[in-house]
Symmetry: C2
Subunit: 307 residues, 2 copies
């Protein structure tokens, strides 16, 4: 895009980030991992008209949710954020959107206490945001730690993002609750660290839909996950299908060998944690779903439960 | 792109990477930074028709050079690679290119001894490769460490990538030397670690052109960099302009308080190191360029020297 234009856009981003950016300017950023802790890293890309549409949400919200989506992978490992790298691809005619996009990214970074430590700006034909998140923890949680006898929990209330997408695609306005769940998700970072300290044995963040993540957890742990669909907390007017198969929730699904103090959790974090099932022995990963005490197939696609 | 297609493409990438990939599968990768070392991180994006054209080089070469370009930022800090994260955006009609692209990335990762520790795959309208590199070092080099009295050096021979681009844009075939310099660059990782142990005081990798990088080094160190343009090593048939302003060299520009043993360096690494100038005091960063002993303006753009 030419050095002058690139310089102006980088300056606009740095202005939008203020003290959320740190150590940007050399060929690479230098960071310290606390002694005794391990490094946790993940990368995630959001492409316009694939992952979001500007007809639905503003550029600031697009920046915000892209950063939170990446941060959610750190939460899944119970890692504390160390930093965020932002690689933006911006078409020439969309340069004016960069400051708002950067403000949203900066807002999310600040809320996660994750300094923006590096970036890259490219021209391109479509708007794209590639985020890499760095975190640290002494004891990373994986998907593979669930053991027979553990209980299964979720944070939050499900179906909001799916409800919003459904409304937008039908040409309707989503409820304010659904819209906020799509536009302003929260990576459950502090919640994950607390849960790891209070007995969580396996954890995964819900980005592909709760039904998929249950399968991932069962498979990685080589256990049977028994889930009571009636217990899955749903938002206002949300179908069981949207709650089970809708993606981009960025809530936590986890197993725990301890009883989680749901009241303390709700008081401390302002969001519920709900027991939805338990772990049983199995030679290979399998999910058993119960509805009103009767075994049903776990959803593989849309409208599976909507009979 | 749908879970089935995505799964197939991820499997194709993992097959292409073989043992070059490590720990992929959980929400995030877990890595260990050696005790006493610091973490060095950088991110870099290559977009088709912006940074490369498939009419010029094959998909395997595109993957290779994208990974090397990102790795070069670790070399600039004298860091050893710890890992590489690859975020690919692939249009539907380009899915068949993914295995070759992945082979090139895997080849570069293996040569750099950098395991591929994470990735992301998205649909999109244009092919784009966002790479994040992680490295470690106890003593990162920066651009800001040049001191009056230091000598100024470059690794390698300049002008190849610019010569290749010029030929392609003119509809000609580049020389084999120029083509290889463009398609198969080498991040100077081992060289940088050796140089840091042998007195290098400031370092930068040449991605934007030697003239630009001289200015960056002078500015970050707040010194005068005096450079003898006649001493800049140029490839066969390469103009001074292409050598000074051509980008994507991925060679090192560095200052050193010691005399570098150029013979030992050439024997050990198979590439030359050349003294091209020295550092003098200055209140602010400035580059003084000399040609045949006469002061000339440092190039700001193309064809500046071609009189």
């Amino acid at each position: 895009m030419g050095p002058g234009v690139e310089f102006d856009l980088v300056r606009a981003m740095l202005e939008a980030w203020g003290d959320a950016a740190s150590g940007v300017g050399d060929d690479a950023a230098v960071l310290d991992v606390p002694p005794g802790e391990r490094l946790v890293v993940s990368t995630d890309t959001a492409v316009e008209d694939v992952h979001f549409r500007r007809e639905w949400v503003g550029m600031e919200e697009i920046g915000y949710r892209s950063a939170m989506a990446a941060m959610s992978d750190l939460a899944a490992m119970a890692a504390r954020p160390l930093g965020l790298l932002v690689a933006l691809t911006v078409p020439g005619e969309r340069r004016d959107d960069v400051p708002a996009l950067a403000r949203g990214i900066g807002d999310a970074a600040r809320r996660c206490a994750a300094p923006i430590v590096g970036g890259d700006l490219s021209a391109g034909r479509e708007l794209s945001i590639a985020m890499t998140v760095l975190g640290t923890t002494a004891h990373p949680l994986s998907r593979g730690g669930a053991r027979p006898g553990d209980r299964v929990f979720v944070t939050g209330v499900f179906g909001g993002p799916a409800g919003a997408l459904r409304a937008w695609r039908d040409g309707d306005a989503p409820t304010e609750w659904s819209r906020q769940r799509f536009a302003r998700p929260s990576a459950r970072l502090r919640e994950a660290v607390w849960l790891a300290r209070h007995g969580a044995s396996a954890m995964i963040d819900v980005s592909d839909g709760l039904a998929s993540e249950l399968r991932h957890l069962a498979s990685a742990s080589a256990v049977e996950v028994r889930v009571h669909l009636d217990r899955v907390p749903r938002g206002p007017g949300i179908s069981l299908d949207d709650a089970m198969t809708g993606g981009e929730e960025y809530e936590l699904l986890f197993s725990s060998g301890q009883v989680v103090d749901v009241d303390q959790f709700a008081r401390q974090f302002g969001t519920p944690v709900t027991e939805i099932g338990d772990i049983r022995p199995s030679g290979h990963g399998v999910v058993v779903a119960l509805r009103d005490g009767t075994r049903v197939d776990l959803a593989h696609g849309h409208d599976h439960y909507s009979a």
